[in-house]
Amino acid sequence: MTPTAATARKPATMAQALTRALRDALAEDPTVHVMGEDVGTLGGVFRVTDGLTAEFGEDRCTDTPLAEAGILGTAVGMAMYGLRPVVEMQFDAFAYPAFEQLVSHVAKMRNRTRGALPMPLTIRIPYGGGIGGVEHHSDASEAYYLATPGLQVVTPATVEDAYGLLRAAIASDDPVVFLEPKRLYWSKADWSPEAPGEVPPLGRAAVRRRGADATLITYGPSLPVCLEAAEAARAEGWDLEVVDLRSLMPFDDETVCASVRCTGRAVVVHESSGFGGPGGEIAARITERCFHHLEAPVLRVAGFDIPYPPPMLERHHLPGVDRILDTVARLQWESDWTEGRGV
């Protein structure tokens, strides 16, 4: 399609693209219902649901009582009756009260009923740090969802993907934990709601930058950091490939392994704590599949194994360009590399 006046791409934020995705989903499918704390009159604390109640009414975009288990639990019941609820959890850590409903019902209902009761729910969770949020407002909680079979876990890193992946999540007949990198809400790109781009299938990673020497594997809030690191690396003579997973479950082994088999070296980058975090899974499955292509072990750059720190210290915790490059430097580039840095 050639851009016309109507489809011309103007700078749009990720938050705007998300709003548009919700709006279009509500307009196209009468079974879609948005619900959560402050999503109505206020338009959500991040304004992602702005204007939806005005356009579609309180029954389609509903301010609920303040109780996350109740929100998700009633959404389960609505899905049982054939609706397609899109639930907003106000912040990452405030999704925890709904954990039982998520793990014991949302993730298991289809399986429990041998397909009779699918759960076409989307659970939107603003996640991650870097916005100076006080405790409970910056958790990168994806590890919990990854360890829960039955859930899909999706996270956009670009404005275009924010629209496309959210549309795909809402259209999916299976539950999606849709993790919105909150510090990218205000990130901008040229994008037009009139030509929003294709709705990508869930479960496909994207190579965001081609490179020959090593692969950075990342997602969500860490993508811009990795791209910046790759740019900086060029100055030091490294040519880095950057893979944006987009969907953590289903996991795109194919794209990831194809990249690592070419480069022979990989670093996984994410904000959430390293121990027990997604990086372990990713590194392990790459190693299982590409062992003889690896010149060095798959390394990880992750948040430390600590509770999310206060804003004044968070910059030390979050993966940054320098830490990524330091790690790339440890990928055994010299041929006479020997082990033994200890445990």
Binding site: G70, G77, E100, S104, T113, A116
Partner: protein, 389 residues
Amino acid sequence: MTVLEQPGSSRRKGELPGPPPAWHPRVAPAPLLPDAEPHRVLGTDAARQLDAALLKRLYVQLVRGRRYNTQATALTRQGRLAVYPSSTGQEACQVAAALALQERDWLFPSYRDTLAAVARGLDPVEALTLLRGDWHTGYDPRACRIAPLCTPLATQLPHAVGLAHAARLKGDDVVALALVGDGGTSEGDFHEALNFAAVWQAPVVFLVQNNGFAISVPLAKQTAAPSLAHKAVGYGMPGRLVDGNDAPAVHGVLTEAVRRAREGGGPTLVEAITYRVEAHTNADDATRYRTADEVETWQAHDPIALMERELTARGLLTDDFAAETRDGAEEMAADLRERMHQDPPLDPDDLFTHVYAERTSQLRQQSDQLRAELAAAAATDEPAQEARP
């Protein structure tokens, strides 16, 4: 109670800018506030107000229900059920819940409520798949409008609220009736569900079967409230207290609550006082926490005996009807016994079929792996891969 001051005694009366505005609901107020006295103990005269046909239907279901309970318990001893939480003694609640609903309504049972599902017409074998160790839900919930038997306590209550709300949004006059135990009322999900129901005025009825125990924990360690029905007050919905062994009374209260819900009157909380005559499940030893005396006292208040007295008083319990009822129950039990003695067909590959609408590449690999293992085991004529705990 010490009242520091009586309302209205302020000398500032008139100076205040009217009642605090935030105190006034900012949207249309909920149409129902609890009654000044929010609960009533319903007596046992309800039977005389019911028509004979309904009374007889209740009786038939009670007798079948008891038989179903004893048969299921027997099946645990024969290794045909992994576990059975009996509702012996609670049949009046189970049966009345089933019969208070229209076909289009939904029932939300807990793990103890297979009988309610069966009394609604569900095939007992399908009701028991979970408890025999086969797939969790042996029926299509949408086809029979019975939600999956719910094990995590009280978590099914918000589902009932959401479903009832969704139905109303769609314009269907469907009511959801959700069952929960006395213990389950302590869970946060109970609270959140009732609150959502009241705020949304959802057409849902909550039936608490207060059987006095949560496994070994007696009611007095569960709550300090004067009754569980009193909890309705805190949500702004009516609360009803009923003799849970009196089937016509339970049926009457539930029918009224269902009617009210259907007419847009919002949710009701019903507490039915009953007793779990058997142990928590066949795996439990109830002698550790209660006396035989207590059980006997309750057996003297048996729902079937109560009903028979009532039917006799009304001249409805003819020998023919009694025999026919008994025979019907025996037939059901024989059929259940026989079919439960057949091993259900099992396909290990089903493990991967319904995790998602479509298998992920990972699940396809795992399914291939299992298939290969089973083939290898079959080829070497050895038993299939087994965990050896």
